[in-house]
């Protein structure tokens, strides 16, 4: 098995990028995360300050080569900020070629549950496959092997999620593990997860909290919540359980397209009704006592979901609105703590 450094990396933005295709092209899919507290000057300049700070951070890191050498960048339409990030990269290629950015490609995975959308998404998946073929043409066998490998990883992660629900893995540790798998070749990622599954983990205790709202590409908010007596038993964002909740129905290009179309429901792309139903079922599955919706500033979808999520779960629920990137404010924590005390 190749070491990570031996594989050329393709940076990707968003959980809607079909990583199977990057793997099948003989490349390392490297999910690009932002850096809270890091410099965002260039991202602010090109995207404006009204865009989700995660995208501004990622753009800044791309432009300052903070991810190391990237063979290419694939951006998905997982949220509005990612789309704007793509447009900025595309336009920078055109008007500031001296930046020498890697080639960039948009994979426009859409999510309405209709056959018209499936046909469109299938076309977009096929186009990404062809685009990546410039590195290594992707044969059907290559694709099938990559789909099988990534689905194996997803099943292993699902077993860790079950361990977490059994109080054997903290939310913080779980989040870090999931993030680690997005920066490794898929076989190594699966081996890493399997080692966690094989280890003897002591039981941990805390108020059982389900986290909804914005995604977390950084552990700080998890650490803050768990330092204050809670255990994050589950979440519905795509740096957590939504990343691996769905597998492919078959090792084919069409099934891959359907897997990504129907993956979710993520806050930026799903309906309020879908989100409420999913959050309620997921919170119930982990016996949550408290629901926390964390809404990062300029991440516009979560506050709209919250009233129905609160009603659907029936839990003590707290909305932390307009939170700074990678932080839970003192006010928000103060609002959360009584919910824990009452549990």
């Amino acid at each position: 098995m190749s070491a990570p450094a031996e594989l050329p990396a393709v940076g990707y933005v968003g959980a809607d990028v079909p990583v199977e295709l990057i793997t099948a092209a003989g490349l390392l899919p490297l999910r690009l995360a932002g850096k809270p507290g890091g410099d965002r000057t260039l991202g602010d300049r090109y995207l404006g300050r009204g865009v989700d700070p995660v995208a501004r951070s990622i753009l800044t890191r791309i432009l300052t080569a903070d991810y190391g050498p990237l063979e290419a960048i694939v951006v998905s339409r997982d949220c509005e900020a990612s789309l704007r990030l793509f447009y900025a990269l595309r336009e920078l290629h055109r008007v500031e070629p001296e930046l020498r950015l890697p080639p960039v490609h948009l994979v426009d995975i859409l999510h309405l549950p209709h056959h018209t959308t499936t046909r469109y998404v299938h076309a977009k998946v096929a186009q990404l496959r062809e685009w990546l073929g410039r590195w290594r043409p992707i044969g059907d066998d290559d694709l099938a092997a990559a789909i099988t490998a990534h689905d194996t990883l997803r099943r292993s992660l699902a077993r860790v999620a079950a361990l977490r629900r059994a109080n054997r893995v903290s939310g913080t540790r779980f989040l870090a593990l999931v993030a680690a798998t997005t920066a490794l070749p898929v076989a190594e990622a699966t081996a890493l997860v399997d080692r966690v599954l094989a280890a003897d983990s002591p039981e941990i205790d805390g108020v059982r909290l389900f986290l909804t709202g914005s995604s977390h590409d950084d552990p700080t908010v998890y650490e803050t919540v768990e330092r204050n007596g809670f255990l994050i038993m589950g979440e519905d964002h795509d740096w957590g359980e939504l990343l691996f909740a769905r597998t492919c129905a078959a090792p084919t290009e069409l099934a891959l397209a359907e897997r990504y179309q129907y993956n979710g429901p993520s806050a930026p792309r799903a309906s309020i009704r879908q989100r409420a139903a999913h959050t309620a079922a997921a919170a119930r599955a982990c016996d949550a006592e408290v629901l926390l919706s964390y809404a990062r500033i300029h991440d516009d979808a979560p506050p709209w979901d919250f009233p129905d999520q609160r009603a659907a779960t029936g839990l003590r629920a707290v909305l932390a609105e307009r939170q700074p990137y990678g932080e839970l404010t003192e006010d928000a924590l103060a609002a959360l703590l009584p919910a824990g005390a009452a549990a």
């Binding site: 991440d299 979808a301 979901d305």
Partner: protein, 417 residues
């Protein structure tokens, strides 16, 4: 002679009468659609289903200074009052608790809302609509393309397949086929393709008049009309496009502009600076557009409303449904997505011979850096104003910044900066 345009007052009066008639019809049981500005309204027109444009209604609410009260109604229900206020205002109308204050008697409850799943919040706003009794949201995808040709305005009227790409057109055409079936089933109204083709022909005729009007204004010195007059003159007929009234209103607007030019009418006799307004209309302070005529001789000669009518709607072709899909599959890209937006604003700035651009940048605007960059690279000074176009809370200090910038522009070396 420099009073309001007759076409503006006529359009506004027509809109009031139409709205009152529509309210009566809906009260009597007619279906009503609420549609986004960039949604394919022509299908409703062909089926004689009345519709209200979401953003038009928000502009009326803002002009009546009711936006803050409406946003408060959202807040009371646990929804954010700080996200996409322009799109959320109409939703707040569903929660109206004081009909006496409601603009124009209030927005009747629609039976269908239609909009793209643009952004992260827009579809949520429609989801809340969908949760209201008797209301159905019909969502359309908002697709995006990996690469596009730059000079879209040259391609769109006839070569739209090349400009937009077949995948997006296949998708929206499929969705519109479903929409027609949905409307046939739920309203009992008939979709006649003969009637639909007539509607599309009327729309193209109307936009051809708008194109001529835009070109007249671009070439005229001094500017013959106030931009605030131009907006209702083009937009009220735009919301009624596909009718003979709208086509004739666009022609009347053209003729009035032509007559003013022929008579040498100036909206600002001391026209010194020709300005372009990039962004949505500043509905909470429409006087802004005239405020600097007296102090600086600065005249706004351009807003996107007439220009996008001139360049953004024309679609010819033998397959009417696909041609309609081509009008809207990439509509907002024309205004907000580089390189399309940036190159188009530069083209329009040059066409109108402007001395400077005022660029309203709201939180949810896309591509604003690249618009400003492209204009400045073309040698055109740009002032960015950061505010929301309907939320007056965000509008502090606009006058002062504008005055300071105009002072710079009017200094002898200002235009070279």
């Amino acid at each position: 002679m420099t009073g309001r345009l007759a076409s503006a007052t006529t359009a506004t009066a027509y809109q009031r009468e139409w709205f009152a008639r529509m309210r009566d019809d809906v009260t009597a049981g007619a279906p009503l659609a609420l549609v986004n500005a960039d949604a394919p309204q022509e299908i409703f027109r062909a089926m004689d289903i009345p519709y209200v444009v979401n953003q038009w209604w928000a502009s009326i609410v803002a002009a009546k200074r009711q936006t803050q009260r409406y946003l408060g109604l959202l807040r009371e229900r646990g929804y954010p009052d700080y996200v996409e206020q322009y799109s959320a205002t109409s939703l707040a109308s569903a929660f109206e608790d004081d009909p006496g204050q409601a603009p124009w008697g209030g927005l009747p409850k629609p039976s269908i809302v239609l909009g793209e799943t643009t952004g992260d919040a827009s579809r949520k706003i429609f989801d809340v609509w969908d949760a209201q009794p008797g209301v159905t949201y019909y969502p359309l995808e908002s697709a995006a393309e990996d690469s596009v040709p730059e000079r879209w305005w040259e391609l769109m009227p006839h070569r739209w397949e090349e400009a937009i790409g077949s995948d997006r057109l296949d998708l929206l055409t499929g969705e519109l086929t479903g929409l027609i079936r949905f409307l046939e089933q739920t309203t009992g109204r008939v979709f006649s393709e003969t009637r639909f083709r007539e509607v599309l022909d009327l729309v193209n005729e109307q936009q051809e008049w708008n194109r001529r009007t835009r070109d007249l204004i671009a070439a005229a010195r001094p500017c013959p009309i106030a931009v605030t007059d131009g907006i209702p003159s083009v937009m009220v007929p735009q919301w009624h496009r596909g009718t003979e009234w709208a086509r004739d209103a666009a022609r009347a607007f053209h003729d009035e502009v032509r007559d003013r030019i022929d008579a040498g009418v100036a909206v600002c006799p001391d026209e010194g600076l020709r300005l372009m307004w990039v962004g949505r209309g500043l509905w909470f302070d429409l006087e802004f557009y005239q405020r600097f005529q007296r102090s600086h001789g600065a005249v706004f000669v351009w807003s996107m409303y007439l220009a996008i009518a001139a360049d953004g709607y024309l679609r010819y072709g033998d397959d009417p449904l696909r041609a309609l899909a081509a009008r809207f599959a990439a509509f907002s890209d024309q205004l907000y997505t580089p390189p399309w937006s940036a190159e188009w604003y530069v083209k329009e700035a040059r066409h109108h011979g402007v001395d400077g651009v005022v660029h309203l940048v709201s939180d949810d605007a896309r591509g604003s850096y690249f618009t400003t960059r492209a204009l400045r690279a073309a040698g055109i000074p740009v002032l960015e104003l950061h505010a929301d176009n309907v939320d007056a809370r965000t509008g502090d200090g606009l006058d002062a910044r504008m005055s300071a910038w105009l002072d710079e522009l009017t200094r002898p070396s200002g235009k070279d900066s």
